[in-house]
Every structure is written in structure tokens, then in C-alpha cells.
């Protein structure tokens, strides 16, 4: 009798599982959609790379979606082989350079001319020279871009235009737009850099000596690893030599 009940219970339980699975299924989009069909972006970042490795970066911010942008504070993670030209900020009808201060390896950028104050759109532009592929630093506001709860994609759209079809973006995750040399992705936060590979023969230049103090992270990390690695065999040796009767 119990067995009969047990068998009778299985379909019910399976049906419950299927019901949950159907909830999951109905929340997923049935068709594959590109990022171009996603929600409108509050931040548009466009990177254009030419065959010589020269890169032009344009970042466009809608200030209505993010009042903290009025503070005019940004930062940029400098990379050893990425030479960054002057960074300009434009408000509705004014343009000025951002003041740069170094906090190695970051550069702190400030809108001292208050170009962005009261502007509906802020545009930041700069050029990066790189020998070959490698990392392209991005200017990042020093606060989180607001994220809409329930939005299917983030409010930051990144588009990278590369010089030829064999070039690709390896970081962060973006998808190739069909029929173009463009790659696009949508994010909830601005990445501090984008990594591109221009062709299979490229040797990225980011192998130069790193700069800045590590603050003791290196020795702390390896000490932690050493403790964890040593702990396991030591304990297992002790546990293995313990031979006691049981049950």
C-alpha cells in the first residue's frame, strides 16, 4: 500500500517540478535578441580602433539618469603601454579638458571648469595610442551608475569598432554584431578597461614592469595560499593515522 502511494506521489511531485520549470521558462526570452534591442542606455561608450592601433574613445552620459555625474569626478586605470592623450569633457555647448592628478596606477580626473554642471548630456573624449592590441583604459565616474531593478540588461552600452573582421574583443564579454566589425555589450557598471586583439600575430604590449605599490597584497596572498595548502595534507596525515574501531 505504501508503495502504491509512493508511486502515486511521484507524478504529483514531478508535476510540481514541471510547474516551477515552466515559471522559469516563461521568464526567459523565446527569441535571441541582440543588445541593440535592449533597453535604452544611460551611458554610451564607443571605442573606434584603427589598423595602426590608434584608438578613439567617446563616452556619453545622460545626466537625467544619474545626478551624481554633476560632481564631475572620474578616474582611469593607466596601463603601461597605453598612452592616453588629453581627456576632454563636453557639456551641452561647452568643452574643456579634465584636470588630471596621478594616484598610480589610477589617474584622477576632475571637471574643474564645471562643464558638466547643469548639462543634460556629458561627453568625454580621448585618444589612446597602443602598439598592437592590448588594453584600452576607460574613464569611469567615481560612483555607481544607477541600475533599474528588473531591467533585462544594464544601462551602460559598450560598442567597439575594430579595423578588420579577424580582430576581436576579449574583455569584457561583448558579442560581434553581424555584418559589421563592431562588437557590443550592455553592462551594469563601466569596466575599467577593454582588451582587444587586432590579429592573431599581435603581441600585446602590456608586459612592461607594473607600477605602484602593492600595499602588501602579494605577500599576504601567498602566505594565505601557503597556509591553506599546508593545512590540508597535515590534517589528512593526522586523520589517516587515527585508526579506531567504529560501529
Amino acid at each position: 500500500m505504501n508503495r502504491a502511494r509512493s508511486r502515486g506521489g511521484r507524478p504529483r511531485l514531478a508535476a510540481t517540478a514541471l510547474a516551477i520549470a515552466s515559471v522559469v521558462t516563461t521568464t526567459s526570452p523565446l527569441s535571441s535578441q541582440g543588445t541593440s534591442g535592449a533597453s535604452p542606455a544611460d551611458v554610451e561608450i564607443r571605442i573606434e580602433v584603427d589598423s595602426a592601433g590608434r584608438t578613439r574613445v567617446t563616452e556619453r552620459f545622460r545626466t537625467a539618469a544619474d545626478s551624481a555625474l554633476q560632481e564631475g569626478r572620474y578616474q582611469l586605470l593607466a596601463r603601461p603601454c597605453a598612452v592616453i592623450g588629453a581627456v576632454a569633457i563636453a557639456g551641452d555647448d561647452r568643452t574643456a579638458p579634465l584636470r588630471v592628478a596621478s594616484n598610480d596606477p589610477w589617474q584622477l580626473l576632475t571637471d574643474t571648469a564645471n562643464v558638466g554642471a547643469g548639462a543634460s548630456t556629458i561627453v568625454i573624449q580621448y585618444q589612446v595610442s597602443r602598439p598592437g592590441g592590448g588594453n584600452i583604459p576607460l574613464v569611469v565616474p567615481t560612483h555607481a551608475i544607477p541600475h533599474r531593478d528588473g531591467a533585462r540588461t544594464g544601462s551602460i552600452r559598450l560598442t567597439v569598432r575594430l579595423p578588420d573582421p579577424s580582430a576581436r574583443v576579449t574583455f569584457p564579454r561583448v558579442v560581434s554584431l553581424p555584418g559589421t566589425n563592431e562588437w557590443q555589450g550592455q553592462f551594469v557598471a563601466i569596466p575599467s578597461f577593454v582588451n582587444v586583439r587586432l590579429s592573431s600575430g599581435d603581441r600585446p604590449c602590456d608586459t612592461a614592469a607594473p607600477t605602484g605599490r602593492d600595499g602588501g597584497l602579494v605577500w599576504r596572498f601567498w602566505l594565505l595560499v601557503a597556509i591553506l595548502v599546508l593545512w590540508v595534507p597535515t590534517y589528512q596525515w593526522w586523520a589517516g593515522r587515527t585508526r579506531e574501531g567504529d560501529e
Partner: protein, 480 residues
């Protein structure tokens, strides 16, 4: 996450749920007894047992919450891993050998057997319910953030979905599923993290580059965001709490032998070390790669859906889903046992049939699963802060009655009850009025100290338990 990848995510999550349901249905008859449902028939060997112990400890608090913790506070919290392991040694030395002397299913079984007290059983069961409601809310919160961000769902809907998945998972499988899914969880974590960490390091830079970028943001990120005093207090709560943790003790009950238990703890150290290094590097790398996320707890979901290559990202996200459902399942099992076995079966309806108890346990899973949803919807704090807070409460009322009770003949029924209540009250009072470090004590330390003092003082002045009860735990051990 864009359409094709989102579909892949749901397909993989669906396949995982189907697998869990398959394991659960396959073991349905084996889990139709209480011993099968709660203790996997006491069949777990060292490797499966190690994966089970690790899977219990490495919750969404680790794969999502701890990544977020490292994201906002840097490396210092990682020192809690080796410090917490001291609690495992305490469990191996002072808990596992003796507690396995009773063929118990739950931690309150121990209280009933050791102290011959229905009141001690009931109090421990109720306290476990309270603490585990908080612990489960942390799992739901982490899951809600993950599904909300990855699936583009409103947070409340995502929390409900996670609660539903966890409940189905637990009702179908019991400890049999938990054990096998624990192994799957270990494989996913090792595989996903093993692929993701080299990718991250190769793109973000080596340890030095990460260190210099973090130091420039805030020197405490590469040094001591948390001071040693805080780390010791947190580790004590987490580690000693583990030694007396109800679901870890349930896992210990599930193993073949004491030797298997000790070896399993060693295997779990290996799994935990890999996970610990992985979550540390995830958190630190993400702080450099995306320094301003909307929430620190978004680090893992964003890593999986926007940073890593699709296949590796999917593995990391699936590992997080498995982690939160698996740990949520372990918590629900413990809660179900507290309700159906300890409160219903032993106190309210002692004559209930085995089948009625299992049915009660499954009803308890479904019912109790709803309570932490309300907590998760409020998002009380970062996921890992909720886990730490729950651990502090747990160590305050459980550690002394379990460890001292198992190793001191003189512990009495009244002493155990006073110890549990006093420890819980002291921790709550200290948390409300005594932080930070009133009289030099963290709330968890105050709770354990009060619990220990009450255990000793009350036990010395009250009637001891019977010689039979004492002999079950001390007789043959001391003779041998």
C-alpha cells in the same frame, strides 16, 4: 545578459533541477524513512562526506556574499578561512567521535539523549528555527540578486523563484540528493573557478597589478580592512559555530564511520581552500575590472554574465545557483527535522507513524520556506553580514551545550537549558547595546562566555543526569 546566453542559463539551471529531481525520485523510496530522508541511511564515505561538509559550509554566503565582501573590503576577510578551520578540528576531536554514539538524526536528538530533557530538545529546536530563518534568508537574498540581475527579473519575483526551486529540490531529495548534489557542487566549483581564475588574472593582471590598483583606491583593500580583533571574533563565530552546527552534525550522522568523518573533514578542507582562493581572486579582480558596481553582492552575477567568456561564466553562475539551492536545501532539511522529528514526532505526536513524520517533514519544508522570503525581500544587509550575524547567534546558544556537554560528565539538564537561553540572550543584548566590544567582547564572545559560565555554575548546583545517559556518551570511550 542577452537573449541567447540567458536562454542557455535557464536551460542549464533547468537541467540541473531535472537532475536533482531525478536523484530525488530515484531515491524516493530510500528517503521514505526518517533515517533515509535526514541521514542518507548513514552511507556516506570520506569523499562524498567531504563534499557534503564543504557543500554545507560553502553557501551562497561564500560564492556570492564573500565575493562581494572581498570586492568591497579586500583581502583581509580571507584570513577567516584558516581561522574557521580550527572549528573543524574541534568538531573532529571533540564532537564527531561522541555524538555518533547515538543513532540520532538531528541535533535536538543529542540534547534529548544527553540531558534526558524534552525541554532541552524543544528549546534547541525552536532556536535553530529562528537562526536558520536568517541563514536561509541570506541564501534567498543572494539568489534573488543573481536571478534578478542575470534574468532581468524584479527582485521580489526572483526571490520567490529561488525559494520555489529550493523547496522543490529539498522536498524531492532529502539528504540523499543533498549528498550527491554536494559532490556536483564541488566539481562545478573546482571546474568553474579553475577556469575563471586564470582568465581573470591574465586580463586584469597578476597579484601585484591587482594589489597596486587596490592600494591606490584604498590601502585597506590590500591590507587590513578588518582588524585582527574583528577577524578573530568573526572566525570564532563561524568556526566554533560549525563545530556545533545542526546541519554539519546531521552530515556527521550521515557518514559511515568516525574514521570516514575525520577523513571527510580533510577532503572538505581541500575543497574549501580552492573555493576560498577563488572567491578572493574573484572579488579583488572585479574591484579592479569594474570598480563601481551598484552593489558589492552583484560581483558574482556580473562576473558570470558580463566578464567571463560565455561557457566559463555559465559554469560560475551555475555553481552559484547550485550553491544557494544546495545550502538552502541543507538548511531546510535541518529545519524540517526540527519541526517534524523533534517538535511533532517527539513532543506533539510521539505515536505518529514513520510515514506521517516524513510527510510532516515535507510539509515543514514547504511551510518554513516561506518565512525567510519576507526577510530576504527586505535585504537587511550584505549577504555575508547576514550569514555572520546568524553564525554569531548560533555559536552563542549551541557551542557550549554541545561541546562541553559531550566532553564533561558533570553537565546537567538545567545547565544545558540555562546555557542555551543565557548564550542567546547575551548575544542579542550585546548586539543591541554592546557593540563595538563592550567590556572588550564581541556579541558572539559575550554569548559563548555567558553560555559557558551558566553551564558550569548551574550544572554544579543541580541534579546530574542518570548514569545510563552519561554512559551512552562517556562509558566505552573512557574505558577504551
Amino acid at each position: 545578459m542577452i537573449g541567447g546566453q540567458l536562454t542557455a542559463f535557464y536551460v542549464v539551471v533547468g537541467a540541473y533541477l531535472a537532475l536533482v529531481c531525478g536523484i530525488g525520485l530515484y531515491n524516493y523510496r530510500r528517503a521514505s524513512t526518517e533515517e533515509g530522508f535526514f541521514a542518507a541511511g548513514r552511507s556516506l564515505g570520506p569523499l562524498l562526506g567531504g563534499a557534503t561538509l564543504m557543500a554545507n559550509q560553502v553557501s551562497a554566503g561564500a560564492t556570492i556574499g564573500m565575493v562581494g565582501f572581498h570586492y568591497f573590503s579586500g583581502i583581509s576577510y580571507a584570513w577567516t578561512w584558516p581561522l574557521t578551520w580550527i572549528g573543524w578540528v574541534v568538531a573532529a576531536l571533540f564532537v564527531a567521535p561522541r555524538i555518533r554514539r547515538i543513532a540520532g538524526l538531528t541535533l535536538p536528538d543529542y540534547f534529548a539523549a544527553r540531558f534526558e530533557s524534552r525541554a532541552a530538545r524543544a528549546i534547541s529546536a525552536v532556536f535553530i528555527l529562528v537562526v536558520y530563518a536568517m541563514m536561509l534568508s541570506a541564501q534567498y537574498q543572494a539568489g534573488g540578486l543573481l536571478f534578478g540581475l542575470v534574468g532581468g527579473m524584479a527582485y521580489p519575483r526572483a526571490v520567490l523563484l529561488v525559494a520555489g526551486i529550493t523547496t522543490v529540490y529539498t522536498v524531492l531529495g532529502g539528504m540523499y540528493s543533498n549528498a550527491y548534489v554536494g559532490l556536483l557542487k564541488a566539481v562545478l566549483l573546482l571546474g568553474g573557478y579553475g577556469l575563471a581564475v586564470p582568465f581573470l588574472l591574465s586580463h586584469v593582471g597578476g597579484i601585484h597589478e591587482i594589489g597596486s590598483a587596490l592600494t591606490a583606491i584604498d590601502p585597506r583593500l590590500s591590507g587590513n580592512w578588518f582588524g585582527w580583533r574583528q577577524l578573530l571574533a568573526i572566525s570564532m563565530a563561524l568556526g566554533l559555530g560549525l563545530a556545533a552546527s545542526p546541519y554539519e552534525i546531521s552530515a556527521i550522522y550521515s557518514m559511515q564511520s568516525r574514521r570516514a568523518t575525520r577523513l571527510a573533514i580533510g577532503y572538505s578542507f581541500f575543497f574549501q581552500a580552492c573555493v576560498g582562493i577563488g572567491v578572493l581572486l574573484f572579488g579583488l579582480s572585479m574591484r579592479v575590472a569594474m570598480p563601481y558596481l551598484p552593489q558589492a553582492d552583484h560581483a558574482t552575477p556580473v562576473l558570470g554574465m558580463s566578464v567571463l567568456p560565455p561557457a566559463i561564466g555559465l559554469l560560475v553562475l551555475l555553481a552559484a545557483v547550485v550553491t544557494l539551492t544546495r545550502t538552502g536545501g541543507a538548511i531546510l532539511l535541518t529545519v524540517a527535522a526540527a519541526v517534524s522529528h523533534d517538535l511533532y514526532g517527539e513532543l506533539l505526536a510521539p505515536r505518529a507513524s514513520e510515514r506521517a513524520r516524513v510527510l510532516a517533514s515535507r510539509i515543514a519544508v514547504v511551510t518554513f520556506s516561506a518565512i525567510p522570503v519576507a526577510l530576504a525581500l527586505r535585504q537587511l544587509s550584505l549577504v555575508n553580514f547576514i550569514v555572520i550575524w546568524a553564525a554569531k547567534l548560533m555559536v552563542s546558544f549551541l557551542f557550549v551545550p554541545v561541546v562541553v556537554g559531550l566532553n564533561w560528565r558533570g553537565a546537567t539538564r538545567a545547565g544545558a537549558i540555562a546555557s542555551m537561553i543565557g548564550g542567546m540572550v547575551a548575544c542579542l543584548v550585546w548586539s543591541r547595546y554592546g557593540t563595538p566590544y563592550f567590556l572588550g567582547l564581541d556579541p558572539a564572545e559575550a554569548g559563548v562566555l555567558a553560555s559557558a559560565l551558566l553551564m558550569v555554575a548551574v550544572s554544579l548546583t543541580t541534579r546530574p543526569v542518570s548514569a545510563e545517559a552519561t554512559a551512552r556518551f562517556f562509558g566505552s570511550v573512557d574505558a577504551g
